[in-house]
């Protein structure tokens, strides 16, 4: 594939602007001297360039996408159309409130529904992604302890199975991270938690269902232990899709949450973003929320109100599926995951063999030991079958892990077909292990040399070369 710069020819281009209708007048200030290399292409070439690139990109509609912990569900088209309404896209964020009543009503409505779904009392839509929501939520916890003058609470407890964003967010919020080991069932080890809490505990961050796809049955005990020690409980909503409409973090004892609109509420991932990670909290923390008119607010975490168009899509989704559709989506997500798990577990050993939530984790340590075929090899083999592989090597507590999340929007036939492919790949791994390290074969490029990329970083096109 040529780069857009390699398609460029001097003097080509399309003129989109009319001639300037006022005299040219430039500021008297130092000018740029260096040439600004931008592509020079007619529109036809621009269009073809991106069409070609799109063909080398695997989207949700290109095939099954069981990427664990990412909730790659279908992104409904109506949501996109609603987010493109001029009554939303053409509104300046600094217009007077009386001229943005529709935007404000939309935000209030979504905040209200998110409160109801999570069992919280207040929500801010300002955080632009899940990790941004984590950082925000942790600052609420920090502000709470600070206001009480409880300055010794400097530690956030994070299970060793947590997403990397959890400890990273805690560090950004100025906390020390205390990692606690999971028990042999993949859940929080109550004894370890009891030993970890104390007068320095600011809070606990927990994903529930957790990152091995299990709902922690001791959840009430866990939040109680933290509360009794004077800490607060943070709910990472990454896995809310499994339990929305079934149970609420607010009822489990959590004080602060974030939700990922781009996972649970069907907004597209955009090749990495934009997402939206609203922060929710119980009433006693509401005054600290960002983007709200409160003197105790932690301040803003981004310039304007939030990724508004993402909120439009999420609201369209909630309105569409409604109060009956929310738990129905969760139930089918959990059913699809258990169905795949049951049909695979005889040959793909489970990290934890019990009823899972919306995802499950396979452990290929034994296969690797026997045949030399790794989780990476198995994942790469799937690429030749048009399947986006499961999440690899996560959570860190499972060796040679593959984490499978089918989501609720896949049909039984798609699951059956994927199960067949998983099993075929396993057979090949046993019979011809040597071929597995070469896969994929039929993709636009083969395995990349990642070491070379990191050792000799080339991160922009060189016009002089």
């Amino acid at each position: 594939m040529k780069l857009v710069f390699e398609r460029s020819r001097a003097g080509r281009g399309t003129q989109y602007l009319p001639k300037c209708d006022v005299p040219e007048r430039l500021p008297k200030a130092p000018r740029r001297e260096k040439t600004m290399h931008l592509p020079e292409l007619p529109e036809t070439e621009v269009d073809r360039h991106y069409t070609e690139l799109a063909k080398q990109t695997h989207g949700v509609n290109d095939g099954f996408y069981p990427l664990g912990s990412c909730t790659m569900k279908y992104n409904p088209q109506i949501n996109e159309e609603m987010a493109a309404l001029p009554g939303f896209t053409r509104i300046h964020p600094l217009q007077d409130a009386q001229t943005t009543k529709g935007c404000l009503e939309l935000e209030e409505t979504l905040e209200k529904y998110l409160c109801e779904i999570t069992g919280m009392d207040a929500v801010s839509l300002q955080p632009a992604a899940g990790a941004h929501g984590e950082f925000t939520g942790l600052l609420l916890i920090k502000a709470y302890h600070r206001e009480k003058g409880d300055l010794k609470r400097t530690k956030i407890i994070v299970p060793d199975s947590a997403h990397g964003t959890n400890p990273a967010s805690a560090a950004m919020a100025g906390f020390d991270v205390v990692s606690i080991a999971s028990d042999d069932k993949g859940c929080v080890d109550l004894e370890a938690l009891k030993a970890a809490v104390g007068e320095d505990t600011a809070g606990l961050m927990l994903t529930n269902p957790n990152t091995v796809g299990l709902f922690d049955p001791n959840i009430l005990e866990i939040t109680k232990i933290v509360h009794e020690a004077g800490g607060l409980c943070y709910y990472d909503g990454a896995n809310l899709n499994a339990v929305m409409g079934i149970a609420r973090p607010g009822d489990m004892g959590f004080d602060v949450v974030h939700v990922n609109l781009h996972k649970t509420f069907s907004t597209p991932h955009g090749g990495g973003g934009p997402g939206s990670g609203p922060s929710g909290c119980k009433a006693f923390l509401a005054k600290y929320l960002p983007g709200k008119d409160s003197p105790e607010s932690i301040g803003n975490v981004r310039s304007f109100g939030g990724n508004f168009l993402v909120a439009v899509k999420a609201l369209a989704y909630i309105l569409s599926i409604g109060r009956e559709g929310v738990p129905a989506a969760a139930e089918n997500a959990v059913l699809n995951a258990n169905y795949m798990k049951e049909k695979l577990k005889d040959i793909f050993p489970l990290a934890y063999d019990r009823t899972c939530m919306h995802e499950f984790v396979i452990c290929l340590e034994e296969l690797k030991h026997q045949t030399g075929v790794s989780a990476l090899d198995v994942a790469k083999a799937m690429l030749d079958h048009g399947i986006h592989p499961p999440t690899m090597y996560f959570p860190l507590i499972v060796h040679e892990a593959l984490m499978v999340e089918p989501t609720e929007t896949e049909t039984k036939e798609t699951l059956d077909e994927a199960i067949r492919i998983f099993r075929d790949i396993y057979d090949e791994a046993i019979q011809h292990p040597e071929t597995m390290h070469e896969k994929p074969i039929h993709t636009p490029v083969r395995r990349p040399d990642e070491v070379l990329a990191a050792r000799n970083p080339v991160i922009r096109y060189d016009f002089e070369a």
Partner: protein, 439 residues
Amino acid sequence: MGSYVPNTPAEQQEMLKECGYSGFDDLYLDIPESVRLKEPLAIPEAKAELTVRRIMEDMADKNVIYRHIFRGAGAYNHYIPAIVDTIANKEEFRTAYTPYQAEISQGVLQTIFEYQTDICELTGMEASNASVYDGAVAAAEACEMCRDRKRSTILVSETVDPKILSVVKTYSFGRDVKVLTVPEKDGVTDLEALKELLTADVSCLLLQHPNYFGNLEPVEEAVEAVHAAGAKVIESCNPVSLALLKTPGEYGVDIAVGEGQPLGMPLSFGGPYLGFMAAGQKMMRKLPGRIVGQTVDSEGNRTYVLTLQAREQHIRREKASSNICSNEALCALRAAAYLAAMGPEGFKEAAVQCTSKAHYLQAKLAEAGVVPAYPEKEFFHEFVTVCKDEKKVLEALAAEGILGGLPLGDERILWCATEMNTKEEMDRVAAICKEVTGA
């Protein structure tokens, strides 16, 4: 009704049975009975697509769409060629996840590599990341890049957008880092005051050029003073202005950041927008977030991958340079598509029109009794005026379907003109102002 669950109830029962379950309740036995919801959620029942459309359109209709916009202050009204939407709406780009699997993600990886190149070209810097949430977060993340054991205090000029300052302060509350503001003098950073504030614990100065009031800053002098004191300079810049003005790279700043919204993002009530960040080679490994690099595949073909991941949260956890995971990739794609469509000449033309029209507007307003607050200062496409009837002026404009500048208090208004504003439109604005002020 809008359900996106494809399996029929009969199929679900069959699947449950095959797994040895008698019903959905069996799947949720790990959830303590006391936290199971007993009542349906208090949200409305499912609605048909047509009904959803009506509700959403009703909400959109409650907003006022201004055809003529003279307000910027961090969100700018620019022309977006139709092809930008066409490209950004391609489902493969829109629905893909972060490109972890390079073999089936070359398209999205290459768009990011091209975007990184564009940002380096605009800013004159050497290394760009794949985007952060918005321009204010880019500034806050850049401040963190400059911190070390000896130096942690952040200086922010008072001429920086207050929204950016607010975000820098929030991030600093997290790290427990001190933020001091450098006073403003005549609409730009007070260099003498800056020099006094440059103590040994200062890690960086955050400067905005053109600044919040639209004025051009004495960047060269500021860079010299800050570097002489052993600290770093972060320049927050408007990407459109970079088609004309001396670049952050040419000024020798350490990190260039900014709000990428002017590069093809609609106003959208504030988001999604695009935070861009670019640094010199030396600070490349401190950049937060995704970075795409070029390499080869096992057959020697040029290939793109996510790289330098040792900086990132999924590897380094609490020692990562940032917690960022999701970014604004589709907005970065919009920016790259916008720049590819406009080309160097078209993009420069947009910049020339912005500044020419802003100067025309400033002169016209002055004639109408709405006078420049900083008549001696050079500016790009925003400027501040003083006028005692400032509220009435804005009301009169609004009554004519015109969104005037942003009121800053003290009789001041911050105006912005772009290539979207015609001479006729600006003459009308001046005429309306004249009627109000009686000038």
